[in-house]
Amino acid sequence: MSEIVIKTDKLTKRFGDFIAANEITFKVNKGEIFGFLGANGAGKTTAMRMLCGLSIPSSGQATIAGFDVYKQTEQIKKNIGYMSQKFSLYEDLTVLENINFFGGIYGLTDKELKTKSAQLIDQLGLQLQAKKLVASLPLGWKQKLSFSVAVLHEPKIVFLDEPTGGVDPVTRRQFWDLIYDAADRGVTIFVTTHYMDEAEYCNRISIMVDGVIKALDTPRNLKDTFHANNMDEVFYELARSAKRSE
């Protein structure tokens, strides 16, 4: 069952004197929803960018879907999907055009593109908006679209950087339905969030403080360890020792 898809060993990123991510070590299993928590500036995005092959680590080891983060960044990119914190689809293209463009870049055939895009639009309920510019969509829909584009090419792992930031509770709920759907299909989900209710949806979570992973376990075990009633308390317990801030 537990095939390991992400494996890091003392992965570190320095920017000059500043250590953004300090010797982070963890494993993520296939099909798992892995929550990556931490306060602002804790180093989550930096760590995620290293795992996506967008940023070369300063030291340490990591393999993503079996590929090395130093030498095989392009193979990694074939096997992952990524949704950045900042909305980064083309606002001046329509929903359909965005789907077709990214699908095409990932090498989907015309036939696959056609069925995939129809299926996606159906799933997202964007039939009426398919030919509208993305710029005109509300944020919640943009985020759902981003996610769908990130999983369009059926990657092994999908990295989500604060996918639900600024999104209303109903849409957040729908968003997590999409995440569960993907996880059911065997996609590994690596997600950062600031919402503790979302943390509870994860199979396992890690909490990062000042570039270091301070805790890593299932939500239930974490609550037990810290004698907390909910994840909020766990997070507060760990994060208040943080010295860094935005």
């Binding site: 967008l54 990119k77 990524y82």
Partner: protein
């Protein structure tokens, strides 16, 4: 190939939805070609002249009439003292002062000799220079006329005169439009090819969309080609529009082969777009890219031989122009459009531009980092 198809499709959709780019590509060349050649004219007309006529003789009147009727000068002051005339220069009403001394007529006839005084406001160097040259020519001409009238024609002219007749090749009427239009067209092509490509990638960096591209397995050269080709095509569109305006408005039809002209432009656009791409790989914001491009384009244009002749530059400046893309294009445009140069004549320049194209694009691909 498929990837490039998707990149091009995306790029063109974005271009056609962006009105400011369309305006830049279509309206700018037409407007600039209509207005600039009319305004940027080396021929100096309307030189304001102030005359101090201390003689009030028929000869002094004749000279003044001759000057004003030449078409180059406008009499803006008729003064009685130098002080008064100097005022006019100070207030910019006059560019030149011509002082005709007392006894101008008498000395001219009796003593066969007379001096005139010309004072020039040299703030506008070109105008002053040309103005005084024109004026001297007119005075000399005037001089010759009186001689003819007063000196008894002798059998053998004691003062042999060499009269020079010249003919202007390739631009027989010395029409400045003919000289300026190809140059301005060269600048336009450079602006579109260089600026648009530079700003495009940087915009993707600014908006953050490049991150989504960088996380795909796209090949670097695919991405660069996907940016290069659309602006290469736009550059050709601008060039074609420009040629049409040159033909319809100024009646300038390339003497040389159109095929050759487009061939050179094709390579040139690769070079200048490559330069824009290279700049964009160094910049993080559109503002930065704009300023860096502006810095280079400014030098390119001012040292490109459009406004000042490269031949009269100092040696060090000539060396600098060897690295100036625009100077090659302006030269070739004039060669092919006005002179009708053939392929053999442009091989050296074509070679240099091809090398630039390879270096800039190669460097841009190298410098574009998908992973930081």
């Amino acid at each position: 190939m498929r990837t490039i198809r998707f990149l091009l499709q995306k790029e063109f959709r974005q271009i056609f939805r962006n009105r400011s780019i369309l305006a830049m590509v279509i309206v700018m060349p037409i407007m600039q070609l209509l207005i600039l050649p009319l305004a940027a004219n080396y021929e100096v007309k309307n030189i304001n002249i102030a005359v101090i006529d201390n003689d009030h003789s028929s000869y002094s009147q004749k000279l003044i009439t001759k000057i004003t009727s030449s078409g180059y000068f406008k009499l803006t002051g008729y003064c009685f003292s130098f002080k008064q005339a100097y005022r006019l220069i100070e207030t910019d009403t006059a560019d030149l002062i011509l002082e005709i001394p007392h006894d101008f007529e008498r000395n001219l006839i009796r003593e066969n000799e007379q001096k005139l005084f010309v004072a020039v406001n040299a703030i506008n160097g070109t105008k002053a220079n040309l103005g005084s040259v024109y004026l001297l020519n007119i005075i000399q001409d005037f001089n010759a006329e009186i001689r003819l009238q007063f000196i008894q024609p002798v059998r053998f002219n004691p003062q042999p005169v060499i009269d020079i007749t010249s003919s202007n090749w390739y631009n027989p009427m010395l029409d400045y439009h003919v000289f300026m239009v190809p140059g301005i067209l060269a600048v336009l092509v450079t602006m579109v090819g260089g600026f648009l490509t530079a700003l495009n990638i940087v915009k993707e960096k600014e908006v953050g969309t490049i991150e989504q591209i960088n996380v795909t397995p796209i090949k670097k050269y695919h991405f660069i080609l996907g940016k290069l080709i659309p602006f290469w095509i736009l550059g050709n569109v601008v060039f074609t529009l420009g040629l049409l305006v040159a033909w319809l408005v100024y009646g300038i039809v390339p003497v040389g082969s159109l095929f050759l002209l487009y061939g050179f432009i094709a390579v040139y656009l690769l070079a200048v777009s490559g330069f824009g791409l290279l700049i964009s790989t160094f910049c993080e914001s559109q503002q930065q890219a704009m300023f860096v491009m502006f810095f280079f384009i400014m030098i390119f244009i001012l040292m490109g031989g459009l406004f000042t002749s490269i031949d009269s530059m100092p040696e060090w400046a000539k060396t600098v122009t060897k690295f100036n893309l625009v100077s090659y294009l302006i030269e070739i445009m004039r060669m092919i459009i006005l002179k009708g140069s053939s392929f053999k004549n442009i091989v050296p320049q074509l070679g240099v531009i091809a090398v630039f194209a390879l270096v800039f694009n190669g460097w841009a691909i190298f410098n574009y980092k998908k992973t930081s």
